[in-house]
């Protein structure tokens, strides 16, 4: 589904991704781990189409379609979803109306009519229950004054509403207490199917106890330096990242 080929990217002239290769098939869960500053969040942003990053070479392909030249919104329309590490506060726009606009703009891009209000309400009810989100919460301004846990739950709620092909969860576990983590992970697991894929970016192994990956990759200094099964995550948790660095530098 997702193929990243020899991807090099930089920000303000500083090279951050230095040749990423990654293939994620439908139905799979991949985890990308690595020390701080390795380029994990950059990779997520570049795939989602953030303009601050310059793709110098390489390709990002989703279901045989090259995304390189597409805007962020066009990538979203093709089924890319990024759960932000730091969701942005947007005062004055409620959660409900934000997601309504997102869904209807995506439908518009596909040549579909707006979703009927009744169906929208039903969908919102269903998905907010899945993430144990209070109805009152939905009428609040997007992310404004939300706790860390609320922000992350809201991200996964949006993911549930938009039903992306490829979901990238960028440090979704940071700032979550164990209950919130369980709710979020449970939400993600319920949304998983043989037709979509999930890429989990995390520094710690904790989240991977709940969202169990098929593959684990270690990103270091802009490259994937090691790949393995879920046991690699445990090894990293136990030994830290230093041994990886040593291996690479050796």
């Amino acid at each position: 589904m997702l193929k990243i080929k020899d991807l090099h990217a930089s920000v303000e002239g500083k090279s951050i991704l230095k040749g990423i290769n990654l293939e994620v098939k439908a139905g799979e869960v991949h985890a990308i781990m690595g020390p701080n500053g390795a380029g994990k969040s950059t990779l997520a942003s570049v795939v989602a189409g953030k303009e601050d990053y310059e793709v110098e070479s390489g390709d990002i392909v989703l279901s045989d379609e090259n995304l390189n030249e597409l805007d962020a919104e066009e990538r979203a329309h093709k089924g890319v979803f990024l759960s932000f590490q730091y969701p942005v506060e947007i005062p004055g726009v409620s959660v409900t109306n934000f997601i309504k606009t997102a869904i209807n703009e995506t439908r518009k891009a596909k040549g579909l009519e707006d979703m009927p209000a009744k169906d929208m309400l039903k969908l919102i009810r269903e998905k907010s229950e899945l993430l144990e989100i209070d109805r009152k919460f939905l009428s609040r301004s997007l992310n404004e004054g939300f706790s860390g846990g609320e922000k992350k739950r809201n991200e996964i709620f949006q993911m549930a509403m938009l039903e992306p092909k490829l979901a990238i969860l960028d440090e979704t576990d940071s700032g979550l207490d164990i209950d919130a983590l369980r709710i979020v992970a449970n939400g993600v697991n319920k949304l998983k199917s043989k037709d979509n894929a999930v890429v989990v970016i995390t520094h710690y192994q904790r989240l991977l106890d709940y969202i169990v990956p098929d593959y684990v990759h270690v990103l270091y200094d802009g490259k994937i330096v090691k790949s393995g099964g879920k046991e690699l995550a445990h090894e990293l948790e136990e030994k830290g990242y230093d041994w990886i660095k040593e291996e690479v530098n050796a």
Binding site: E89, I90, T101, T106
Partner: protein, 437 residues
């Protein structure tokens, strides 16, 4: 002949035609004398530092409308808030249109300034209120000299007006350039309530200059809400002089939606003559091209225990320019005053400018006054966030701008006005989304 001379000679013609009593004649001749002495304001004056009238004043305006023009309702319906019941006072090139208006004398007076100035039954109110709030500055004085038509609204004690009153001034463009000077008087007695919608609309691309004066008197416990919709053609300029005098426990609000016109200057003045008064000044400005809007506000806190709330949002694109000059005076006696002022602006282009200047003159020592102004760009991280959810750039921008102005819109108490403003904003921003926030 420059505009000032033309006005002075036109006044002489007008004076001969007036059939008003001597006290009014005196007011008018004093006013024209004052205008003659002071002339139009120039950028040398502190209050006009960022707004030059030069360009606007150089047109050869027709001063006294020569003919009556009729308009069909169907042609101008879109300028009315037409999906609600309302009283209507409609003026075409400064002259009253009975065809488009809906007046009343049933318990309240919603009628014409021309009648009020000439008929004996209105004499007490005119003597008591006409020109009693307007300042002795040159533009209000010029209006006073020429004032013969506009809205006359008198709401007696304890009356709640059952539907809003719309005051609409159309300019047809019969003349290559025309100047109109509407004069409105709104007297709201004790414990009475009224909502007023005001609009100036040019129907051609000929130049129009409006110099309007609105005097509002809110007696004890009165509630007055005024909505000014300024979305005129690019060749129409407006100088709006509004003076609001409030007594104890009254609440007066003015919402100014400045979206269009060549040059708009809003001189909005509140005077608090009593205790426990609330004055509310809110505005949304969205400009493009070379438009210019200047909000010049004054809140004069004269007595203790009063509040004022000012919240102006501005969005400036292309080469548009904006000014916010907000003056708050708190007199020595006005202890326990709560005065708030905020002015936030977004610049969408490198060539747009905004000048914002809070002016606080506080002579009391036990008051809460706050002011804040910001000038910034659209939040890039918010833009990426929205786009990553599938909302295209233009729509995301529009949504952010709408959200930015939303806390001003949320205090609009007539849903149809809010809807109308929302539609204008969507059109202005070139998007087709409901902003159903």
């Amino acid at each position: 002949m420059d505009l000032k001379e033309k006005l002075l000679s036109s006044y002489l013609i007008l004076e001969d035609q007036l059939h008003i009593d001597t006290s009014l004649q005196d007011i008018k001749s004093d006013a024209i004398k004052l205008f003659k002495e002071k002339g139009f304001p120039s950028k040398k004056e502190e209050a006009w530092k960022y707004t030059s009238l030069n360009k606007v004043l150089k047109e050869d305006y027709n001063i006294l409308a020569k003919q009556d023009t009729a308009l069909e309702y169907s042609d101008v319906k879109k300028y009315f808030i037409h999906d609600i019941e309302s009283y209507k006072l409609v003026f075409i090139d400064g002259k009253y249109s009975s065809h488009l208006s809906e007046t009343t004398h049933d318990g309240i007076d919603v009628c014409l300034m021309s009648s009020a100035l000439t008929k004996p039954k209105y004499k007490t109110v005119i003597d008591g209120y006409f020109n009693k709030a307007a300042t002795q500055d040159s533009l209000p004085s010029l209006n006073t000299a020429f004032a013969n038509e506009g809205a006359y609204i008198h709401i007696p004690k304890n009356k709640l007006v059952d539907k809003p009153i719309q005051i609409i001034n159309f300019s047809t463009g019969n003349e290559a350039a025309s100047m109109v000077q509407p004069r409105n008087l709104i007297v709201v007695e004790e414990n009475a309530q009224v909502q007023i919608i005001e609009r100036h609309q040019s129907l051609s691309s000929n130049a129009v200059l409006t110099n309007s004066v609105t005097e509002v008197f809110a007696d004890k416990r009165a509630i007055v809400d005024i909505y000014k919709i300024q979305n005129d053609n690019a060749t129409a300029s407006l100088i709006d002089n509004t003076f609001i005098k409030q007594k104890d426990n009254s609440i007066a609000s003015v919402h100014t939606f400045a979206f269009g016109g060549k040059l708009i200057r809003n001189n909005l003045n509140f005077y608090q003559n009593g205790e426990h008064i609330d004055s509310i000044l809110k505005g949304v400005t969205i400009l493009s091209d070379k438009q210019h809007v200047d909000h010049n506000t004054l809140v004069h806190h004269i007595e203790p225990n009063c509040e004022s709330h000012q919240d102006y949002k501005g969005i400036f694109g292309d080469q548009s320019t904006g000014v916010f000059n907000g003056k708050i005076i708190v007199e020595k006696e006005a202890q326990k005053t709560n005065a708030f002022q905020s002015n936030n602006n977004i610049l969408l282009s490198d060539k747009a400018t905004v000048n914002t200047k809070p002016q606080l003159e506080i002579f009391a020592d036990d008051v809460k006054c706050s002011h804040g102004c910001t000038i910034g760009q659209l939040d890039e991280s918010a833009m990426f966030y929205m786009r990553s959810r599938g909302i295209p750039e233009k729509e995301a921008k529009a949504l952010l701008m709408y959200a930015f102005s939303n806390n001003v819109l949320s205090s609009v108490r007539i849903p149809e006005i809010k809807q109308r403003i929302t539609n204008i904003i969507a059109k202005k921003l070139g998007v087709n989304i409901g902003f159903d926030l």
